[in-house]
Subunit: 146 residues, 2 copies
DNA sequence: ACCTATCGTTTACAGTTGTAAACTCAGTTT
DNA sequence: AAACTGAGTTTACAACTGTAAACGATAGGT
């Protein structure tokens, strides 16, 4: 059960590797390489490098299995996704985040259950929501701060 | 009115510069540097570099004003945010995106208006939503594909 | 007309990322 | 036992990023 808190970030290319291992639960390098060679134009050597980096940064753990390793995630997928998304959002203007959510939700396929969960969370949130969220792009004390 | 479609991406550090210019509408380098030196521990030279890179990659435009330049955005803030967010999402497992939205929305301060817009978009979306969204982390033809 | 304060440009440099070949070592095959 | 094969490790290398100093030109003051 992966729950480690990661210091280093998982890069875009590494993310592809993690998705394989997350989905399979665990996998040997042959499996990972085989699947990724089919999805991308990557050479096996490239994937080996990515696996190595993920092990080094603590995102993947290993178990010896005879001559080779079985890799398994040391971070939970949902947690990694949540962190990535909120990190991305945190660097954007607070005032504009709502509109970006609208755009993202319009563009994303969501299940009925997810939509219902979102609606109920939003309805609850509405009861304590501010009338407006102000822009936080300038220092608080700036004269014309939005 | 900025509407250019950007090929290059805006990096994290550059994003800070853009937010200043987006918010002010336009600004000379003195203003940008002044504000960012206060927000971060950056040296003026660092900010000059970032401005230069943003101009080169077409995110900022310039107008000569005597000896100096006035910088203005060539890309719209909301569009840049929307792109950044959907790009981030597109690299994550389709099945898990809904849960990440829930988490992100829980963590983000939203205005009443934004929440209401989100709810109404979601309600509309619900009418055509699938029962479930399946994992897209493995090649479609993979034996145990989720 | 000369000096100086700027503003923008050039150069710098280490760390990260994408991409991949080369190498090493331990089992497996003949 | 010698050769081979495949897994993991090392090395490579260019582009991109974060961070910043140095430099060159030019508008303004004296």
């Amino acid at each position: 059960m992966p729950t480690t808190e990661l210091t280093a970030t998982i890069t875009d290319a590494e993310w592809r590797v993690m998705r394989i291992v997350w989905t399979l639960g665990q996998a040997d390098s042959h499996t990972i390489i085989d699947l990724l060679v089919r999805q991308h134009d990557w050479k096996p050597a490239t994937i080996k490098t990515l696996i190595g980096r993920l092990v080094k940064k603590g995102a993947l753990g290993t178990t010896k299995d005879g001559r080779q390793y079985i890799y398994h995630p040391l971070v939970a997928e949902q947690a990694a996704m949540d962190t990535a998304l909120t990190t991305e959002l945190s660097q954007m203007c607070a005032m504009c985040r709502g509109k970006s959510f609208v755009h993202a939700i319009d563009e994303t396929e969501l299940s009925q259950d997810d939509i219902q969960t979102l609606i109920s969370h939003l309805q609850k949130k509405l009861t304590t929501a501010p009338t407006a969220v102000s822009c936080d792009c300038l220092p608080a004390d700036y004269e014309g701060s939005c």
